[in-house]
């Protein structure tokens, strides 16, 4: 039995189609990130899961219960952090948690839950006076009441400071370790990447893909970029550019996700791989022939290689074997941002 099962779910508002046929299965025990740009239909989907909104068509099952006919059973086993909620105006933080405990017929300790989400210091203040981030934490606490089998979190990091985001992430992991399924939506990519086992990308009411983060990367194709800085004298004769894949990628810009320059320094004893040629090999030619390399381009001392992740080490090895001296290298993976853009802009 899946945690969440959507079959052919559509939602139309008059002429506007908010969801056009969503089929999605979320397995028990996984952390599922629901990703998509603003207005893609993420909140509509979550509202349908909770029967806040009725689908125009399709079938929705949560934890084996038909949401349309048995919403209370779903809500009993699910902890919810909705989007755009307001706390009850007459209740303190602690009273909120106490209400949730009573409604769920649970026996949690309110103070323990408030401690866990870090709002214990404001437990006896009216929740309407809370900041957005504190209200978000408080509602996470009420969602955790009764150890739910499923947590549905709609844009959980809204209004949270970095510390709050980390707390949220830790709680998601803890809940997952306990055996709960976590389904959360976000438009912030790093957060999805940090905790999700699988990701579904929604755009314009359609589910474009469902995969693991790694799977998504692979799916987009050549994924890594390796920039190698060579000793200036090495191969200075060959100032060429080769690109068997058809397109040479531009030089890596922005942040380098990995830098391991110093470790390779000093290891460059010049040992010509092909002494019969009498000169140093053309690095572009060396790299081009390696399996998994899509493109190579050269700019003075720098060699920019677009290749699969597993080919990177091979590139470095081959260059050294060819007698070239590597001074430094950086490697960068395709960011989720690029993936996201490539999926949602209809390149594929």
């Amino acid at each position: 039995m899946a945690a969440i099962q959507l079959s052919g779910v559509t939602k139309r508002y008059g002429d506007v189609a908010a969801l056009r046929g969503i089929d999605l299965t979320v397995e028990r025990g996984e952390v599922f990130g629901f990703l998509g740009p603003n207005g893609a239909g993420k909140s509509t989907t979550i509202d349908i899961l909770l029967r806040y909104t009725h689908p125009t068509d399709g079938r929705v099952e949560v934890l084996g219960h038909d949401v349309a006919t048995d919403p209370v059973a779903v809500r009993r086993e699910t902890g919810v952090l909705p989007e755009g909620f307001a706390p009850f105006e007459t209740m303190t933080g602690r009273q909120h948690v106490e209400y949730a405990i009573e409604a769920n017929a649970a026996d949690d300790d309110p103070d323990e839950l408030l401690e866990r989400v870090d709002v214990a210091h404001a437990a006896d203040r009216l929740a309407t006076g809370y900041s957005k981030g504190m209200a978000q934490r408080l509602t996470l606490a009420t969602a955790l009441v009764g150890e739910p089998d499923l947590l549905i979190l709609d844009e959980p990091s809204t209004g949270l400071d970095p510390h709050g985001v980390r707390t949220m992430r830790e709680i998601v992991r803890e809940e997952c370790d306990r055996g709960a399924t976590v389904f959360f939506s976000s438009h912030i990519l790093e957060q999805v990447e940090a905790v999700a086992d699988r990701v579904g990308i929604l755009s314009d009411g359609q589910l474009l893909t469902v995969d693991t983060i790694d799977g998504l990367r692979d799916g987009v194709g050549a994924t890594g970029e390796l920039t190698v800085t060579l000793e200036p004298d090495a191969g200075s004769l060959a100032e060429s550019t080769g690109s068997p894949g058809g397109t040479a990628t531009a030089e890596a810009t922005g942040s380098h996700s990995e830098t391991a320059g110093s470790s390779t320094r000093g290891s460059g004893q010049r040992t010509p791989a092909n002494p019969s040629q009498g000169s140093v090999a053309d690095p572009v030619a060396v790299v081009e022939s390696i399996d998994g390399v899509d493109a190579v381009s050269r700019r003075s001392d720098e060699l920019v290689v677009t290749c699969r992740r597993e080919a990177k080490l091979g590139v470095l090895d081959e260059l050294r074997d060819a007698g070239l001296v590597i001074r430094d290298f950086t490697t960068e993976e395709t960011s989720l941002e690029d993936l996201f853009v490539s999926y949602t802009e209809g390149d594929r």
């Binding site: 509202d47 909770l50 029967r51 806040y52 909104t53 009725h54 919403p71 209370v72 809500r75 009993r76 699910t78 902890g79 919810v80 952090l81 909705p82 989007e83 755009g84 909620f85 307001a86 706390p87 009850f88 105006e89 007459t90 209740m91 209400y99 949730a100 009573e102 409604a103 769920n104 509602t139 009420t142 969602a143």
Partner: protein, 271 residues
């Protein structure tokens, strides 16, 4: 039972935001003042004990529907608008629980306010040495509560049926104008319309029935039926004339069918 938790929360909300106490004090002051005026005039030798229910009845006709509508029309629509409903429905509640719990909880608050008012009035009259006719007074309390229940039902129905709080206030105000202030002229107005914009020679047979459709008049019909005949005559209260059974059916429809319709509409719409 999940709806009882909601009802408790409704009562708790109205206590915590002081509306319950504020309204109870206001009602006690208003009805207490009428009790004082009545007891004074009885002590001065004017008026009879029968006149007490007439006096408080004139006030009750207007302010009981007002307080019942006021305390109920926001119950659901306000939370729907501000997002509390998303939070509330994240807990194991059915939308039915929200309507029923809101209805019961709000009615209990309205009932408390009315009891406080009538208790204060009775106390003032008794303490000033005048008599309170027990049977008539209890009958008045009973019909006041029925009246309050009917208008609480109307408020809850409006609250469950519309999406925006401003529409809810417009609808609530319209209900008050129509059924509390204007209904007595509705049957003759309707007869005038149906007769081709001319005043009919005799009132049509349905006049009394249309008249009884307003809870105020249905309750009056029942009140007259409950009162000793002498009391009813002495305070010149006639009722709507439709018969007590029809009045009871009308009130039952307001109290049961209206909120049911409101719930069904609420359940079928998106938050």
């Amino acid at each position: 039972m999940s709806w009882t938790l909601i009802a408790q929360k409704e009562i708790g909300d109205l206590r915590r935001n002081r509306q319950l106490y504020g309204m109870a004090v206001l009602f006690a002051a208003m009805f207490g003042l009428l009790g004082y005026i009545h007891a004074n005039s009885v002590n001065d030798g004017f008026g009879s004990p029968n006149e007490l229910v007439m006096l408080i009845g004139m006030l009750g006709t207007y302010i009981i529907p007002a307080v019942a509508l006021m305390l109920s029309y926001e119950t659901i629509v306000k939370r729907r608008h501000n997002g509390q409903l998303e939070l509330l429905l994240g807990f194991p509640h059915h939308r039915r629980d929200l309507v029923l719990g809101g209805y019961v909880g709000r009615f209990l608050v309205v009932a408390t306010v009315i009891v406080a008012g009538l208790w204060a009035c009775g106390m003032v009259v008794v303490l000033m040495g005048a008599t309170v006719l027990g049977a008539a007074y209890m009958a008045f309390l009973f019909v006041s509560l029925v009246l309050a229940l009917a208008y609480t039902a109307a408020g809850i129905t409006i609250s469950a049926s519309v999406r925006s709080p401003s529409w809810a206030s417009v609808a609530t105000f319209s209900v008050y104008l129509m059924f509390v202030l204007a209904w007595r002229i509705v049957p003759s107005g309707l007869a005038y319309l149906l007769n081709g914009f001319e005043r009919p020679a005799t009132s049509p047979w349905w006049t009394e029935y249309v008249l009884t459709l307003s809870p105020n008049l249905a309750v009056e019909e029942i009140f007259v039926w409950m009162l000793p005949e002498s009391t009813a005559e002495s305070i010149a209260l006639a009722g709507s004339g439709s018969g007590v059974e029809f009045a009871a059916v009308v009130l039952l429809a307001w109290i049961v069918l209206l909120p049911l319709a409101g719930y069904l509409r609420f359940d079928r719409t998106d938050l």
